[in-house]
């Protein structure tokens, strides 16, 4: 492996066009807690495997109950997390630029527990499960770190959920 030091400046940043996609992806990933612990040289590979996606205002990024194999980072715009019931929907939360969501799909082939809808035109960075798994296989020591943080996130959410519903549970 070549020395990691001299690679901080990744790509052909030329005067007019600025920076390459890999570089901007890398900057985004670095700011996301789940990925922040990964050494730069490896994080670059995640940045390399990410893809861009655009959605118009009002479009669904994914729907509750659908299978999906990607995790998303919101690059620009706002999106809403919505829980859909048979006759109505409940607005749960709003997502802002730089937030990572839908990451559970990277771990397993699950159905979405909620829908995400673009509130404005939005840009996303996405990573699919196959890429994520390939990285896990190639660099288990890095993968374990990511998994660890992801699972913490899930536990944290569960905790929040429990606290929210605790009064219902006692009687329910």
């Amino acid at each position: 492996m070549s020395s990691p030091v001299d690679h901080d400046q990744t790509c052909s940043a030329s005067e007019q066009s600025g920076r390459c996609e890999l570089e901007t992806n890398l900057d985004v990933l670095r700011k996301i807690p789940v990925f922040s612990g990964i050494p730069l040289q490896r994080l670059k590979l995640y940045a390399y495997l990410c893809k861009r996606a655009r959605y118009g205002a009002g479009e669904f990024i994914f729907r509750q109950g659908d299978p999906d194999d990607r995790g998303y980072v919101l690059l620009s715009g706002r999106a809403q997390i919505v829980r859909e019931y048979e006759d109505h929907s409940v607005f749960l939360n709003e997502l802002h630029t730089g937030e990572f969501f839908g990451g559970l799909a990277l771990l397993s082939d699950i159905k979405r527990l909620f829908s995400v809808k673009a509130a404005t035109d939005i840009d996303c960075l996405t990573l699919d499960r196959e890429s994520f798994r390939k990285m896990l296989i190639q660099f288990p020591e890095v993968g374990i770190k990511v998994l660890d943080l992801m699972i913490r996130r899930v536990v944290h959410m569960e905790e929040k959920l429990m606290r929210k519903h605790i009064h219902e549970c006692i009687y329910g």
Binding site: S12, L22, K44
Partner: protein
């Protein structure tokens, strides 16, 4: 059965006419071999002694014509021999392979592919070569030998007897050595088999080996066989050359005796000189047939061992008859199934099915559920006649299943396994597989029409996949001209209807814009190569092109870009060379990484000026491949994009003037053979980052194709998609759908699905379920092994299995209310 034929029966039964011809030619050759000896004697004794020039010329003439004739005959004999041998080998292989294919599945559980391959290829080729010469060589050489011996006795009986005295001794010693050799040879074949097993296993388990980095373990396994093989081979060689040594030794004893005794007799005047010369020549000539006989003997032994070793290994009978004995059409079954006290015992005492009984009327649907290992799949396989059964009865339309031939079964049953096998061919060939087999048996109405194929594809939910394959296909130049023209025909219509609305989602091929979804080479030429030397890979060494790059000042910026790409890509991917996956978004292919690593090394030492021409070209090639939407590791400055756009006009002028016909330029009225069908309809490229738009545009395209009656043709293109080895390029779901289509296409009276929808997504599974409920209901008797219980809700009958027994039987609701195992399974899942 082919495996019980003796080695020589092949010689005696095949090519009889040719063999006869061979023997006749041999008789002549033998004569022409001895005849020159007599001439020799006469030249010395008659012509030279009586100083008769005429006689000398006559004898010499006869001598040379005999020698030439013998030579020509020998050539013809060799050719015929070779022909016979190869012909026999060809038939032997065909027959043995046909036999192997008919062997029971259980046989292949313990037999590796490697063993079958080496048996059919290398092990059999020795006997094949041998068989060609099996008759000719012994006859020709024995006869020659006898003729020579006879001639020598005629010359001088005493000398003859003396010079042959050694041979009986040799005949005693050599077979003993040969026997040892044969034993070693047998061992060698067994070790080689072990070795091919080990290699075969390692290759099919390669992911496990890579995953565990267990290279040393596998190496050691092979090394075990390798060293054994080495030792065996060495001992075999020692044996073989010992035989040769003994043979040579006895041979050279002959002249020794001849000179001693013959010389003595000659001095004493009891033997004339001519006779001695002829005698010596005769003895020398004796060596060849004798040696050939010895070689033949060794060859024969070797072939015998190989042949029987191979044949014995495959000497099993098929479980079922392939075709009916009498000439009759295959049965047309109604699909009634009755199973009485069916047992299936594997490996002697492992009871997998235990007194299973059930009955199904034609058209009824049976669901088979249970824990894994309960015998569900085995039951399905027994009903599908893939396994034979030990005890009990399976009656189909009242006939015992065991006694039906494979032909009957294949005409009436369809079986889909959980992991169906997909052959390395097009989707179409894979789907037609079952129908093709039926039509080859000669009892079928022939191959299905395109509409029939498309209908089945739609039934199993493959239409979208195939359409996508079709739209992504690159048409073959000069072959698919008609379709190409039709596609160009709908281009304008598409643009007229949706062009303006899709500006954000499609990158139309516009000469005034830089194309981010197209590589730099085509961005510069705004066209595609029409000749091999203008292909992207060759462009760096195309003089005209290089001159053009210099002229428009693009050489340096492109070399910069190439260097950048090389550096970034090598540093990114050098640690993960073993997985092709990571190279899909890379301008450097996996097998090129090493070359570019070396170039990057050079660059880091001394910069771009130190590169040789070859390296410069490689760097330029990388830049030409660069597609900005795909290769994220570099970005083009917008000034360079502008420069490239401006260069297009000059490029067009230059090439139109100096090398017209080198490129075909993008034109709204021409098909672009370097682009996919979809790109051609759009005259542009779909931007990848709008998932919703992609769907929408695809719908537009499909509608348009339907309107213009082109849909079936595009599907046809999609059907010719090559699936790769074992269907590598397909998803698990696609493979299952293909297997289902394959079976549905033959509309079997009895359909067996062994978790055949397990890899499908929910939507496709529902679709198949719907098909079973409506289309197939009443038409085919269905036996479906399923894991997800809700799939069998509407079935006529459900059996629940546990440890080889049916523990519950009934309909869905009935079984739920019984609160037994089915209820538990339903609750658990």
């Amino acid at each position: 059965m082919v495996t019980q034929k003796s080695l020589f029966s092949w010689v005696l039964e095949r090519c009889r006419g040719l063999q006869l011809l061979l023997i006749v030619m041999i008789l002549f050759t033998v004569f022409f071999r001895v005849f020159p000896l007599e001439m020799q004697k006469r030249i010395v004794n008659v012509a030279i002694r009586s100083r008769d020039i005429n006689a000398l010329l006559t004898y010499c003439g006869l001598y040379i014509s005999a020698v030439v004739t013998a030579g020509i005959l020998k050539y013809v004999i060799n050719v015929v021999q070779g022909y016979i041998g190869q012909k026999i080998l060809y038939e032997m292989r065909d027959q043995l392979y046909a036999h192997i294919l008919s062997l029971p599945l259980s046989f292949f559980r313990r037999t590796s592919p490697g063993l079958v391959i080496s048996s059919l290829t290398s092990e059999l080729s020795g006997p094949g070569d041998f068989l060609g010469s099996a008759l000719a060589v012994p006859i020709i050489n024995l006869l020659t030998l006898i003729m020579f011996v006879g001639y020598m006795i005629y010359l001088n009986p005493l000398l003859a007897v003396l010079s042959f005295a050694m041979y009986p001794l040799e005949i005693l010693i050599i077979p003993v050595l040969q026997k040892r050799y044969n034993k070693l040879n047998q061992d060698r074949i067994n070790v080689t088999r072990g070795m091919s097993n080990a290699i075969g296993e390692a290759i099919s388990g390669m992911h496990e080996i890579h995953g565990n980095a267990s290279y040393p373990i596998e190496n050691r396994k092979l090394d075990g066989f390798g060293s054994k093989l080495f030792a065996l081979r060495h001992r075999m060689n020692k044996n073989k050359y010992m035989v040769k040594f003994i043979n040579n030794f006895f041979q050279s004893l002959g002249p020794f005796i001849l000179f001693l005794v013959g010389g003595y007799l000659s001095i004493r005047g009891r033997l004339d000189l001519g006779a001695l010369v002829a005698f010596l020549s005769a003895y020398e000539k004796l060596y060849d047939p004798w040696k050939e006989l010895m070689d033949y003997y060794q060859d024969f032994q070797d072939s015998r061992v190989r042949y029987y070793q191979v044949m014995n290994y495959f000497d099993y009978s098929p479980e079922f008859q392939l075709k009916p004995d009498e000439a009759r059409e295959p049965y047309l079954l109604k699909g009634k199934i009755e199973i009485n006290d069916l047992d299936f015992v594997a490996d002697g005492n492992n009871r997998i099915l235990d007194r299973v009984s059930l009955g199904l009327q034609p058209g009824e649907q049976l669901g088979v559920v249970g824990l894994s290992g309960s015998g569900k799949s085995t039951l399905a396989m027994v009903i599908g006649q893939l396994y034979s059964y030990t005890r009990g009865h399976v009656l189909v339309d009242g006939m015992e299943l065991k006694t039906l031939t494979k032909l009957d079964v294949s005409h009436n049953m369809g079986y889909v396994a959980q992991h169906p096998f997909i052959f390395d061919d097009s989707i179409k060939e894979n789907i037609l597989y079952s129908r093709k087999s039926l039509s080859l048996s000669g009892h079928d109405e022939g191959l299905p029409s395109r509409d029939e194929i498309l209908r089945v594809i739609d039934e199993v939910g493959l239409t979208e996949d195939i359409l996508r394959f079709g739209l992504n296909s690159v048409l073959e130049r000069k072959v698919q001209i008609v379709l190409a023209r039709k596609i160009v025909g709908i281009r304008e219509e598409f643009y007229r209807r949706w062009g303006t609305q899709l500006v954000d989602d499609v990158e139309f091929f516009d000469v005034k814009r830089f194309l981010h979804y197209t590589n730099i080479a085509e961005n510069i030429s705004f066209g595609y190569p029409n000749r091999a030397d203008c292909e992207l890979e060759q462009l760096p060494s195309n003089r005209l092109f290089r001159r053009f790059l210099d002229e428009v000042g693009l050489t340096l910026p492109l070399l910069d870009l190439g260097q950048q790409l090389a550096k970034e890509t090598v540093s990114l991917l050098e640690d993960i060379q073993d997985d092709q996956f990571f190279f899909e978004m890379s301008p450097i292919a996996r097998d090129e990484l090493e070359v570019y690593s070396a170039i990057v090394e050079l660059l880091s030492k001394g910069g771009g000026e130190h590169l040789g021409r070859k390296e410069q070209d490689a760097i330029l090639k990388l830049a030409l491949r660069f597609t900005s939407s795909r290769h994220k590791m570099a970005a083009l400055p917008s000034s360079l994009e502008m420069q490239i756009i401006e260069a297009r006009r000059l490029f067009f002028e230059r090439f139109a003037a100096e090398d017209p016909g080198a490129f075909i330029f993008y034109h709204p009225d021409d098909y672009l053979y370097t682009h996919s069908l979809m790109d051609n309809i759009l005259f542009g490229h779909l931007k990848a980052d709008r998932p919703r738009a992609t769907e929408e545009i695809q719908n537009h395209v499909v509608n348009l194709l339907h309107e213009q009656h082109l849909f079936a043709e595009v599907m046809e293109v999609g059907l010719s998609f090559q699936v790769g080895s074992k269907g590598d390029r397909l998803s698990g779901g696609q493979k299952q759908k293909i297997a289902l289509a394959r079976v549905l296409l033959k509309q079997p009276r009895i359909l067996i699905l062994d978790e055949a929808t397990a890899s499908l997504d929910n939507r496709s599974q529902t679709r198949i379920q719907e098909l079973i409920k409506t289309e197939l209901k009443g038409k085919s008797t269905l036996i479906a092994v399923v894991h997800r219980l809700e799939l069998v809700k509407d079935y006529d009958q459900i059996i629940v299995m546990k440890a080889g027994k049916i523990v519950e039987m009934g309909q869905y609701e009935e079984l739920l209310t019984r609160k037994g195992l089915f209820y538990e399974l339903a609750r658990g899942s």
